[in-house]
C-alpha cells in the first residue's frame, strides 16, 4: 500500500515537471477540444477522443514537428482555461469572431460551415421556405433581408435552443432576441434531447454538425429548414485559438494549415468526416 502511494506521488511529480517544462517552448504542446461535437471532435465508446479535429491536430503537429497531447475540456470555460495556462491551444470548432479576438489569438481558418435551423419533423415548420438558400450577414441583399423577416415571422414567440457561448447564441441575441425565447444548453447532446422532447421548437446549429447527424439513425426525426447563414456574428470560419502572447505558435499553425490545404489533406479529412467539403480553400 505504502509502495503504491509512493509510486503514485512520484508519477504525479514527474507529470507536473513535464507540464512546467512544456511551458514556454513549443516543442511540446497541449491542445484542448470539447469532445462532444461530432464529427468535429467527440469521445468514442471506449472513451478515446476522435473526429475531424483530432486527426487534423495529428497532421498539423507532425508538419510543425512538435509533440502534442489532446485533452477534453467543457465548452463553457474553454477560453478562460486557455488564458489560465491549462493548455496551449484550442481546436474545438471555434469560429473566429471579433469578440473572441479580444481574448485569444487565432491561426488562419481551416474550415467554415454555415449555421442553420433544425426542427422536429411534422411539428409545423416543415414548409418553411425562403427565396434564398444562403445569407451572408456582413452584406445583406434585399432578398436576404426578406428571408430574414420570414425567419423572424416563423419563429416569433417560439422557443429556440442553442449551445451556450456559441456564435449561434450570439446571432439569436442580436437578430431575434426580441421576438423569440432563447434557451441555452451546455452541450449539443442536451440541446438535442430537448429538441426531441419538444421543450424547444427549433435549434440553431452548425451545418457541419447537423448534416452527418441527419443522415444518421439518431437524426431521423429532425429536419433542416431555412437558409444557411454565414459571416457577421457567425465569424470568419473555424481556426486554432492560442493565447495572445503566443504569436509564433499561431503562425506555426497557420503555416501547417496552408500546407495541409496545398497537398489536399485538409479537404480529404473534411469529406471523410462531414460528408461534404467544409475545408478552407485558398
Amino acid at each position: 500500500m505504502k509502495k503504491l502511494l509512493i509510486s503514485v506521488i512520484a508519477a504525479l511529480f514527474v507529470i507536473s515537471i513535464a507540464f512546467t517544462a512544456s511551458a514556454g517552448q513549443y516543442d511540446k504542446i497541449t491542445i484542448a477540444t470539447e469532445g462532444a461535437f461530432a464529427p468535429w471532435n467527440f469521445t468514442d465508446s471506449s472513451g478515446q477522443l476522435d473526429g475531424f479535429e483530432i486527426e487534423l491536430a495529428k497532421d498539423l503537429c507532425k508538419r510543425m514537428g512538435v509533440e502534442y497531447k489532446m485533452v477534453p475540456q467543457a465548452w463553457d470555460g474553454i477560453i478562460p482555461s486557455l488564458q489560465a495556462g491549462k493548455y496551449d491551444a484550442i481546436m474545438a470548432a471555434m469560429s473566429i469572431t471579433e469578440k473572441r479576438k479580444n481574448a485569444v489569438l487565432f491561426s488562419r481558418y481551416y474550415a467554415a460551415t454555415p449555421s442553420i435551423f433544425i426542427v422536429l419533423k411534422n411539428n409545423g415548420f416543415d414548409d418553411l421556405k425562403t427565396d434564398v438558400d444562403a445569407i451572408t450577414l456582413d452584406q445583406v441583399s434585399p432578398e436576404e433581408e426578406a428571408a430574414m423577416s420570414v425567419l423572424s415571422d416563423t419563429f416569433g414567440g417560439k422557443t429556440i435552443g442553442v449551445q451556450a457561448a456559441t456564435i449561434q447564441e450570439r446571432f439569436l441575441q442580436q437578430y431575434l432576441g426580441k421576438s423569440v425565447e432563447i434557451k441555452s444548453y451546455d452541450t449539443q447532446e442536451n440541446l438535442e434531447l430537448d429538441l426531441q422532447s419538444g421543450r424547444i421548437d427549433a435549434a440553431l446549429g452548425a451545418m457541419s454538425y447537423w448534416v452527418p447527424r441527419l443522415n444518421d439513425e439518431k437524426g431521423k426525426d429532425f429536419n433542416m429548414v431555412g437558409p444557411g447563414m454565414t459571416k457577421g456574428p457567425f465569424g470568419e470560419g473555424v481556426g486554432v485559438a492560442v493565447r495572445q502572447s503566443d504569436t509564433e505558435l499561431a503562425a506555426m499553425f497557420s503555416k501547417a494549415i496552408n500546407e495541409a490545404i496545398a497537398d489536399g489533406t485538409l479537404s480529404k479529412l473534411a469529406i471523410k468526416w462531414f460528408t461534404f467539403d467544409a475545408s478552407a480553400k485558398e
Partner: protein, 228 residues
C-alpha cells in the same frame, strides 16, 4: 482584475436573485410538507409505510442532487408520450417545474430525517403527561411533540436551508437563468470568470447571511430560557 466587468455584471446578477429566491422558497415549502409527512411515516408502526418512507429518504440522500435534476429533466423528456397521456407533460415541459421538483424531493428527504430526530428527542414524560390529561393523538402532536421537536431540529434545519440556497445553483444546468446561470452567460461573453464569480459568490454570501440571522433570531424566540 477587470473592474468594469464587475461593475457591469453586478446589476445583471442582481436580476437573478428573485429567480434563485423563488426556487429556494418553493422548494423549501414543498420539501417541508413532504418532510413532516415522511417523518411521520418513518416512525409509523406499520412496517410497509416505515419501509416506504425509509427507501425514499435513502434514495434521495444517497444520490447526487445533480443526477436527480438530470434524471427528472432529461429523463422525463424520454417519456414525453406517456406523460402526455397522463396530462403531466405540461408540468415536466418546464425546466422550472423539474428544478423545484428535484430540490423539493431532495430537501424533503434530508428534512424528514432532521424532523424524525427532533420527534424522537421528545421525552416520554411529556408525551405521557399529554396522554394523561386526555389529549387525542393529533392534539398531542400539535401541542406537545411538534413544538418540542422543532426546537430540537432547528439548528439542523438551518443548515439544510443554507445547503438548498447553494444547491439552487445546480438549476443553471437545465437552462434556468438564476444567479449562476446568468454568471455563466456573462462569462461566455466577457471571458472574465474570476470577476463574475466573485460577484455571484458574494450574492450567495449575503443571502445566506440573512438566512443565518433569521434562524438565529427564531432560535432565540423558541428558547427564551437560554438567552435571558
Amino acid at each position: 482584475m477587470k473592474f468594469d466587468v464587475m461593475k457591469e455584471s453586478f446589476p445583471q446578477l442582481i436580476g437573478g436573485v428573485p429567480e434563485t429566491l423563488l426556487l429556494v422558497i418553493f422548494s423549501l415549502c414543498i420539501g417541508f410538507i413532504l418532510a413532516v409527512i415522511f417523518a411521520q411515516l418513518r416512525l409509523s408502526k406499520n412496517r410497509f409505510w416505515s419501509w416506504f418512507a425509509g427507501s425514499y429518504i435513502y434514495i434521495f440522500r444517497s444520490t447526487p442532487l445533480l443526477v436527480q435534476i438530470y434524471l427528472i429533466y432529461y429523463g422525463s423528456g424520454q417519456f414525453r408520450i406517456f406523460l402526455q397521456e397522463l396530462g403531466l407533460w405540461t408540468f415536466f415541459r418546464e425546466a422550472w417545474f423539474c428544478a423545484i421538483m428535484a430540490l423539493s424531493l431532495n430537501t424533503g428527504a434530508y428534512t424528514a430525517e432532521i424532523i424524525r430526530g427532533g420527534i424522537q428527542s421528545v421525552s416520554w414524560g411529556e408525551i405521557e403527561a399529554g396522554k394523561a390529561i386526555g389529549m387525542k393523538p393529533l392534539t398531542l402532536f400539535r401541542r406537545i411533540i411538534f413544538p418540542v421537536a422543532i426546537r430540537q431540529a432547528l439548528p439542523g434545519y438551518g443548515n439544510e436551508i443554507i445547503l438548498i440556497v447553494k444547491s439552487s445553483s445546480l438549476a443553471s444546468t437545465i437552462t434556468i437563468l438564476e444567479i449562476t446561470g446568468i454568471a455563466k452567460k456573462i462569462i461566455a461573453a466577457t471571458y472574465a470568470p474570476i470577476e463574475v464569480f466573485i460577484i455571484a459568490g458574494s450574492l450567495y454570501l449575503v443571502m445566506n447571511f440573512i438566512v443565518t440571522r433569521i434562524i438565529e433570531f427564531t432560535e432565540h424566540k423558541l428558547n427564551p430560557q437560554f438567552y435571558r
